[in-house]
């Protein structure tokens, strides 16, 4: 007797098609809002002359981190500018910033809720495992029927892929607050809200920041991949280099990604360290 193959794939497709047609109003709304966000941030960053943005970033690095990072930032960004990759770099940066913002806005409350409720924790953790281990490319496929080809789909896939660490670290940070401090807050008659805002959140801040740092890194790697569904930026430069078999162009764009990644990583890490723990 032959066991019939379970039509898992067609079920999922059916579900996605239903979602697309039933909720097209919602997806179109999201699409419009996100596109407006992307455009305005992108235009804003592009409107600034290259040297001005470079100076601002250098100043930011110097203020928040160190002189060394500022020098590194100037050298790296100058190289990107020189290679003629400035505009794609800005496009990538825009996508990363917006995707991270959306991811963090969703992740913080979810992470807090999961930390405070054991049941929610058990529900959310396997979902996070799913989101993180599913090959990143797979998210690109349903993104297209939802939001069409382009940057909005890229943001959608990126948010899903990069959100888990922010949730995990928020939950971890809150759960790591020593029991005796919770006990102290309880003993003095703190309400749940007071406990959360006066004790748990401030104490978990360094861990939450580490999570956000991870989210930014994942978002950067994903927006590059998202070039396959028409996202602009450094990813599309790499993609074009692959199609034309030009390793030189590919590496130039790749190096630009690395520079951007290091810059974002060091900046957010210094933000974390400058907080008193």
């Amino acid at each position: 007797m032959e066991i019939p193959r379970i039509p898992l794939g067609s079920w999922i497709e059916g579900g996605l098609t239903w979602l697309t047609s039933e909720y097209s109003v919602v997806t179109r709304g999201i699409s419009r809002i996100t596109q407006t966000g992307i455009n305005s941030l992108n235009d804003g960053l592009m409107w600034l002359p290259e040297w001005a943005l470079l100076a601002i970033i250098a100043l930011l690095c110097w203020k928040l981190a160190s002189t060394r990072l500022a020098i590194g930032a100037v050298a790296g960004l100058a190289l990107i500018w020189n290679l003629g990759l400035w505009n794609p770099m800005i496009e990538t940066l825009t996508l990363v910033v917006i995707a991270t913002l959306v991811a963090v806005v969703i992740a913080l409350p979810v992470g807090i809720a999961a930390a405070l409720s054991e049941r929610l924790y058990r529900l959310i953790m396997p979902m996070l495992d799913f989101m993180q281990t599913m090959p990143a490319f797979v998210y690109l496929i349903p993104a297209i029927p939802f939001f069409g080809i382009g940057s909005v789909s890229a943001i959608f896939a990126t948010v899903i892929f990069s959100m888990p660490p922010a949730i995990r670290f928020t939950t971890l940070g809150i759960r790591q607050v020593p029991v005796e401090l919770i006990e102290a807050a309880d003993a003095y008659g703190a309400t749940r809200g007071q406990k959360l805002f006066k004790v748990q959140l401030p104490l978990s801040l360094p861990t939450v920041m580490a999570g956000i740092n991870q989210t930014i890194m994942l978002a950067l790697s994903m927006v590059v991949i998202a070039a396959m569904i028409g996202a602009d930026g450094l990813g599309s430069e790499v993609w074009r280099a692959i199609q034309r078999l030009r390793p030189g162009d590919g590496f130039e764009a790749g190096i630009a990604v690395v520079i951007l990644a290091m810059l974002l990583d060091r900046l957010t890490q210094s933000l974390r360290k400058s907080r008193r723990s």
Binding site: A184, A187, P202, L203, R276
Partner: protein, 400 residues
């Protein structure tokens, strides 16, 4: 103790079972089974069993027991950080185990301040902000809570450290912050959970002494948990002795020492080294008067006359002992028209730390008859010992 004193907290038939079937464990307990058998039969741990005692208004009650005796559970039942299984805890007419969530918060805010073994200070808050915590939770207005917390910090000797963070302080100082946090809150009962156990022995003695001084001043109802009998005997007005979640004996330190309720208590108090109790500290009397280094000779002489003494200890502004002024030296200073007494001091006296055994003191009295100064490590004058007191103390020890 006088049994008619007003009762602050009444604990009646309090039991606590850890586990999911507390009823079953209590049934077995009522059949006369003990903790290990109940654990074996039901998998439930009988943390506390049928505890009853009163806490009188203004007393310092020590709950003492070894680890596993249930003392930490008991103190946490009082403010319901741990829910009880059965029994009553009545404070000002309210039965704590049956309070609703809102009423419980209100009750904790009004009645309980707590000091923890490992300090439990908030590392992200300054010393000042830590001391303000309880008031902030209660919604006390900012400038008011600032003043109250500042005064509390002053009381525990932490003035000037307001803007430091807990990790910049030593253990003893951290626990002072914990104490200030509790004092600032001005709740009616102070709960101290092994508050000094994490401190090293010398600092611990200091803190005990300071707690007693504060207690003398404020008469705050205090429940103090400890595993250390010396500490219990030293600070407790009364002691509740716990063993395996049950009360073994309740009484004053004297009653515990002289009339142990059973073999367990007797074995326990054998560990107390009686000779160690007889130290300079036990025979020490408070100094009636001292002179300051900035005083003139006339002022100093005047003080001596007021207290009918012929020599006076001189301290600087930090209460550090800097010398002794004799009456003759003072009059010579007046003749020499000296502005201050600092040039006329003598160092020809004896000083000892508070833990100096009494026997050693006895020999020091041979030549001169100045009272012996008792000083702490910072050379601060704690008190004096006179010959009579030593004799008295040694004689009493002989009787025991």
């Amino acid at each position: 103790m006088d049994e008619t004193r007003p009762v602050k907290i009444q604990v009646r038939g309090l039991s606590k079972v850890f586990g999911k079937q507390p009823k079953k464990a209590l049934e077995l307990r009522d059949q006369g089974l003990k903790r290990p058998e109940i654990l074996e039969k039901t998998g439930q741990t009988l943390g506390l069993s049928n505890i009853s005692f009163d806490v009188y208004e203004g007393e310092l009650l020590v709950i003492m027991g070894l680890s596993g005796s249930g003392k930490s559970t008991l103190i946490r039942c009082l403010n319901r950080l741990i829910d009880t299984t059965e029994g009553e805890i009545i404070i000002d007419g309210e039965n704590i185990p049956t309070l609703g969530e809102k009423a419980l918060l209100e009750c904790r805010r009004r009645h309980f301040s707590m000091v923890f073994q490992n300090f439990a200070l908030f590392p992200h808050r300054t010393v000042q902000q830590n001391a303000e915590f309880g008031l902030e939770i209660r919604g006390v207005e900012k400038s008011e809570r600032h003043t109250i917390a500042h005064n509390a910090l002053k009381q525990v000797g932490l003035e000037g450290w307001e803007d430091a963070y807990p990790n910049q302080l030593s253990g003893g100082m951290q626990q002072r912050v914990g104490l200030a946090r509790a004092l600032a809150n001005d709740a009616s009962v102070l709960l101290m959970d092994e508050a000094f156990s994490a401190l090293d022995p010398l600092i611990r003695k200091d803190m005990q002494q300071e707690l007693l001084q504060l207690q003398n001043k404020m008469q705050k109802t205090t429940v103090f948990i400890t595993h250390d009998l010396d500490e219990a005997l030293n600070i407790g007005d009364r002691i509740v002795l716990l063993k395996d979640g049950e009360v073994v004996q309740i009484g004053t330190p004297e009653e515990i020492l002289t009339k142990p309720a059973d073999e367990y208590v007797r074995r326990f108090i054998e560990g107390v080294d009686r000779s160690r109790i007889l130290t300079a500290e036990s025979a020490m009397r408070p100094v009636r008067t001292t002179a300051r280094d900035s005083d003139g000779p006339r002022t100093a002489l005047h003080r001596m006359r007021d207290h009918s003494i012929d020599s006076i200890y001189v301290t600087d502004r930090d209460r550090q002992l800097i010398g002794l002024l004799e009456a003759d030296a003072a009059s010579r200073a007046i003749e020499a028209k000296a502005e201050t007494i600092t040039d006329h001091l003598t160092q020809d006296f004896r000083k000892v730390p508070p833990e100096e055994p009494l026997q050693n003191l006895f020999a020091m009295f041979s030549e001169k008859s100045y009272p012996i100064a008792v000083v702490d490590e910072q050379q601060r004058l704690l008190g004096v010992v006179v010959k009579g007191a030593v004799l008295d103390e040694l004689a009493r020890a002989g009787e025991q």
